[in-house]
């Protein structure tokens, strides 16, 4: 029985957009030119591969279904009216691909590749003596990044966090970019009343403390629906689609609070572009305003959009961890790097220090943000004809 979350739609959208651009590079045209430019840059290609791995992980973690419940003999459990009963816990393809990592939990903390727990326990030896020592793990040498407080494998948690990060990074951006371009161009190009109105809106938004807005929004909308983990029957529409996902509301509010910076940049750039001679020349042909905006203004704004996207992407992933820290980010049952960082706040104040939870989040975040920056730069350069044939 499949389960589709509203945030899954974001992942599907992003992956299909990436596939679309990938496929359109096979035909002649603009995308092909850009692809040839990117292909010359070895570092960008390597970054692209890393990003593809992340994308694949997020995609695999976004296709999920519930299994039918079975009794001890393996026969499906059927309710009184004859319908097959399903487990409330949906498992994604990623969960199913890594059953070993999902199931091999320990009692509590253990260091990477260790064979013993990190904390001493009082144990009884077979000859009856009571000793206090580090007990052996159930799965010794199995945890490449160690285990956390409840004994879950950190590598697996970090892998599950990929989807959360990608959903937040891209989902908020999907909100930001159309808003920012639309309002920025309108304000910059038409000026006058439109400019005043847009400036009024974003000045107002920017003057409300962002955290306050996010907190009240999340408490209003985010606290009810799906929080991660088990799917409650009341959240699912037609037993399949879960529209009210806490993560979705988080993307939305992060987008709403962060489109103003890009909008301001775009407004300024549009003001400059509007006076360029090529815009005047186009107007002298009697081109419509829409045509001028479409052919002359927006393409010349793309570098700003790309730079902001890449910079905000890492900012948004970090914002998620900050918000999880004050308890209004993703739900505690959703694996996320923010939750991992939040947990390591206490772990780092222990003696001896438990450092691997933070390391796991750090490595995964770093390996996503750095290639995203490199690849974003490469795309921006490839889009600019002036930088070609260098």
């Amino acid at each position: 029985m499949p389960v589709i979350l509203s945030t899954d739609l974001i992942v599907y959208f992003v992956v299909s957009a990436a596939l679309y651009f990938g496929l359109s590079a096979r035909n002649d045209g603009r995308a092909r030119e850009v692809w040839f430019e990117i292909r010359k840059n070895k570092l960008a290609l390597a970054s692209m591969c890393v990003l593809c791995l992340y994308g694949a992980a997020a995609m695999a973690d976004s296709i999920r279904f519930r299994d039918a419940l079975v009794d001890e003999k393996g026969a499906p459990v059927v309710s009184s009216d004859g319908a097959v009963l399903y487990s409330p816990q949906p498992l994604s393809l990623l969960d199913r691909a890594l059953p070993g990592m999902r199931g091999n939990s320990e009692k509590t903390y253990s260091a990477p590749f260790s064979d013993r727990l990190f904390v001493k326990e009082t144990m009884e030896t077979p000859d009856g003596r009571v000793v206090r020592d580090y007990p052996l793990l159930k799965h010794p040498h199995d945890h490449a990044l160690g285990t956390d407080r409840i004994g879950a494998d950190i590598l697996f948690t970090a892998l599950k966090g990929v989807r959360t990060a990608i959903v937040i990074g891209t989902g908020a951006t999907v909100v930001i970019i159309p808003f920012a371009i639309f309002f920025g161009v309108i304000a910059g190009y038409f000026g006058g009343f439109a400019d005043d109105a847009v400036q009024y809106v974003y000045t107002t938004l920017a003057s409300i403390p962002g955290v306050l807005l996010i907190v009240s929004f999340m408490l209003l909308f985010g606290s009810r629906g799906y929080q991660g983990g088990v799917v409650a029957a009341k959240d699912a529409v037609l037993a399949v689609f879960v529209p009210n996902d806490r993560l979705f509301w988080l993307c939305l509010i992060l987008g709403i609070t962060s489109w103003t910076d890009l909008c301001r940049l775009i407004r300024g750039e549009t003001l400059k572009l509007r006076e360029m001679d090529y815009v005047q020349a186009s107007l002298a042909f009697g081109s419509s305003r829409m045509r001028v905006i479409y052919t002359h203004i927006v393409p010349n704004l793309m570098h700003l959009v790309l730079i902001t996207f890449v910079l905000q992407f890492s900012g948004l992933v970090l914002a998620e961890s900050v918000l999880s820290y004050i308890g209004i980010g993703v739900g505690p049952q959703t694996a996320s790097w923010g939750n991992m960082i939040n947990a390591s706040r206490l772990e780092l104040s222990r003696e001896p220090v438990v450092w691997w939870n933070l390391l796991g989040a750090f490595v995964f975040m770093f390996a996503l943000v750095l290639p995203a920056n490199v690849f974003g730069d490469a795309v921006r350069d490839a889009l600019d004809p002036r930088l070609r044939n260098r």
């Binding site: 001679d277 090529y278 020349a281 042909f285 009697g286 081109s287 045509r291 052919t295 002036r386």
Partner: protein, 632 residues
């Protein structure tokens, strides 16, 4: 004879570029006597500024000195330590830059900046330095120095700022003043004042001046000695008057002949074929080989020496070298008569010849045109007042003729042009185009006239969208104004238009950055021509170009006019261009036309005071000289 103030010997400067080391200055030697003005002239990219920066020892990080000596009063500047060099700059050598708008720091008052310049080199206390700087300000013609002392740079006009720059540069009485294009960014009347000021200050301080410019007439009027640079080398150097009386190097001759002036009316300007070779790969022999009309078989292989052929007149050309001419390498590659080809359209362009022109009829008449910019103030941005950019002007453009609109920057001529072509709405007045008043037309009504009126812009870099191919750029107008044309008809039209302006149609898939400034200007012209206009406004269309490219563009515009009877409105501040190309001229001052009429009449007998001032401010080369400029 005393020893010269500055003596440069075999100066070589390289710039590191991705394409390899670029030889910006190649074995340049010259000397400047005490109190003399030495001019370095040449087109952009020939190494004039690199030479000046080498002398100042202020090369950018990518540049380095590869050899040579720079002797300033007997002291070799290249051997000094960095601290000693700092001491020399400002005290012994100082520099004035081209752009007065950016050469002063906007966050300090001009007084503070001059005081800083003085106290860096003179042990003076603040009050003494302040007194000295106020004196300096009045010396450079800025009276009221005490109140000006506390002003910030943005309160001053470009001319005033350039005066402040001169005051700063001369505050420590340097032995040498380097003026790098000191007047290029200024209006003609202010140019004249600044040059006079430099000459006056030179006389009172006894400094030598190294004048770097591309303006030949300025050199003729002000320099004692002039050197022509081409591709990093001095190709000819002579006492200034002698250089103009008898130019020896073919490059100098061609350059001089490409300057538009009244006596060249009706004939095409001379042009130089090809482009300057890139500084990373100069030809082995003469740098001008391949472009020279008098090239001989040995020119590309043997480098000509710079030898003296007349008193103080040196040139680097084999034509004057008797030894070389006696060898077998002196066979000319082609024999061209020294006559300029008539203005023609290039072969293969599909513009039909001999169109019947209805010259003399009025195409456009402007009456009482006013364009005001509101100055908003207060909370609700109510218009508190108006800047009267165009304040009731009248203009007439005749069919197949050229009207020039001249005036200095800020007089409203560009706004006038944009209003006439209806890029903005006028506040009052009539714009009668082909018998219809289009002043109050809106959106859809304007569309039919769009294809008959087009515009060419000043800056070829901002005139083309960097993200569109040339084809897409030109196609835009056709798509909008000729919806009847299909894609293949449009491509045909674009090819024909590109061919007409001298761009190979195969290049249409390229992007603007792949073209040189001159080519971009041609593309801008092609964009305007593609919709077959009857009237084109050229807004300073050639003023940012080098002389030789200006000449090509002017020739092109003239030949287009002859072929298809297009009328031009030339908006410009360059009176030489006006004299050369225009039939009628309107002089604009502070939003109003102060004088108009046929060009010959206005230039011979200016009536308005402003016109007189304008005309007298233009440096000119004496009229009897141009006929002497013939190729050897």
């Amino acid at each position: 004879m005393s020893s010269p103030t500055l003596e440069v010997k075999n100066l070589r400067t390289y710039f590191r570029t991705p394409a390899g080391a670029a030889l910006a200055v190649d074995r340049v030697s010259f000397s400047i006597e005490k109190g003399a003005t030495f001019a370095l002239v040449g087109e952009s990219g020939c190494g004039k500024t690199a030479a000046a920066l080498s002398i100042m020892q202020l090369l950018p990080p990518a540049g380095y000195l590869a050899g040579g000596e720079i002797m300033l009063n007997g002291r070799n500047l290249t051997e000094l330590s960095e601290a000693e060099k700092r001491d020399v700059r400002g005290k012994n050598v100082s520099m004035i830059f081209q752009e007065p708008m950016t050469s002063l720091n906007p966050v300090f008052t001009i007084g503070e900046q001059i005081v800083e310049a003085i106290r860096l080199h003179r042990k003076k206390d603040y009050n003494a330095a302040k007194e000295a700087s106020i004196r300096m300000l009045s010396d450079v013609g800025l009276p009221g120095g005490a109140s000006l002392f506390h002003e910030y740079p943005h309160r001053l006009s470009g001319g005033q700022r350039q005066r402040v720059m001169i005051a700063m540069a001369l505050a420590c009485k340097p032995d040498l003043l380097i003026a790098d294009e000191p007047t290029t960014a200024l209006d003609v009347t202010i140019q004249d004042e600044i040059i006079k000021l430099i000459n006056k200050m030179k006389a009172s301080t006894g400094a030598s001046v190294l004048l770097i410019t591309h303006n030949m007439a300025l050199v003729y009027r002000n320099a004692d000695t002039a050197a022509v640079m081409y591709a990093g080398k001095i190709v000819e150097s002579a006492p200034a008057k002698g250089l103009f009386r008898r130019p020896m190097h073919p490059y100098t001759i061609k350059l001089l002949r490409s300057i538009p002036a009244q006596e060249k009316r009706g004939v095409p300007l001379d042009t130089i074929k090809g482009v300057v070779p890139p500084a990373t790969s100069y030809p082995e022999g003469c740098r001008f080989s391949g472009r020279c009309p008098r090239e001989m078989t040995g020119c590309a292989a043997v480098e000509p020496r710079l030898s003296e052929y007349d008193a103080g007149h040196v040139a680097a050309c084999h034509l004057w070298d008797k030894e070389f001419m006696a060898t077998g390498q002196s066979r000319p590659l082609e024999t061209i008569t020294d006559a300029l080809a008539p203005i023609t359209s290039p072969e293969g362009s599909d513009i039909d010849e001999g169109k019947t022109l209805e010259e003399g009829k009025t195409l456009l008449e402007v009456r009482g045109l006013k364009t005001y910019y509101p100055v908003s103030a207060g909370l609700f941005k109510r218009a508190a007042g108006y800047v009267k950019a165009v304040d009731g002007i009248a203009l007439i453009v005749k069919k197949g003729a050229t009207t020039a609109l001249v005036g200095e920057s800020g007089c409203g001529k560009t706004t006038a042009g944009k209003t006439i072509i209806r890029l903005r709405a006028p506040d009052a007045g009539e714009i009668i185009f082909k018998g219809t008043d289009v002043a109050n037309f809106t959106g859809a009504q304007l569309k039919p006239m769009r294809s008959s009126m087009q515009m060419i812009f000043q800056d070829p870099y901002s005139a083309l969208n960097p993200r569109l191919t040339i084809k897409a750029t030109i196609e835009e107008g056709l798509k909008v104004l000729r919806p009847d044309m299909d894609a293949s008809a449009r491509v045909k039209k674009i090819s024909a238009t590109l061919k007409r302006v001298g761009i190979t149609p195969e290049m249409m898939e390229r992007y603007p950055h792949e073209f040189s400034g001159g080519q971009r200007q041609r593309i801008g012209i092609a964009r305007a021509l593609s919709v077959d206009p009857e009237f084109i406004i050229c807004d300073e269309a050639i003023s940012s170009q080098d002389v030789s490219i200006q000449a090509q563009i002017l020739n092109l515009l003239k030949s287009i006019q002859r072929d298809s009877g297009i009328s031009y409105l030339f908006i410009t501040h360059d009176l030489g261009v006006v004299e050369y190309i225009a039939d009628y001229v309107s002089v604009m001052f502070a939003g109003k036309i102060v004088e108009d009429g046929p060009v010959e009449e206005i230039f011979a007998n200016p009536k308005h005071e402003y016109t007189r001032k304008l005309l007298s401010a233009v440096p000119r080369i004496d009229k009897e000289l141009p006929p002497l400029w013939t190729l050897p």
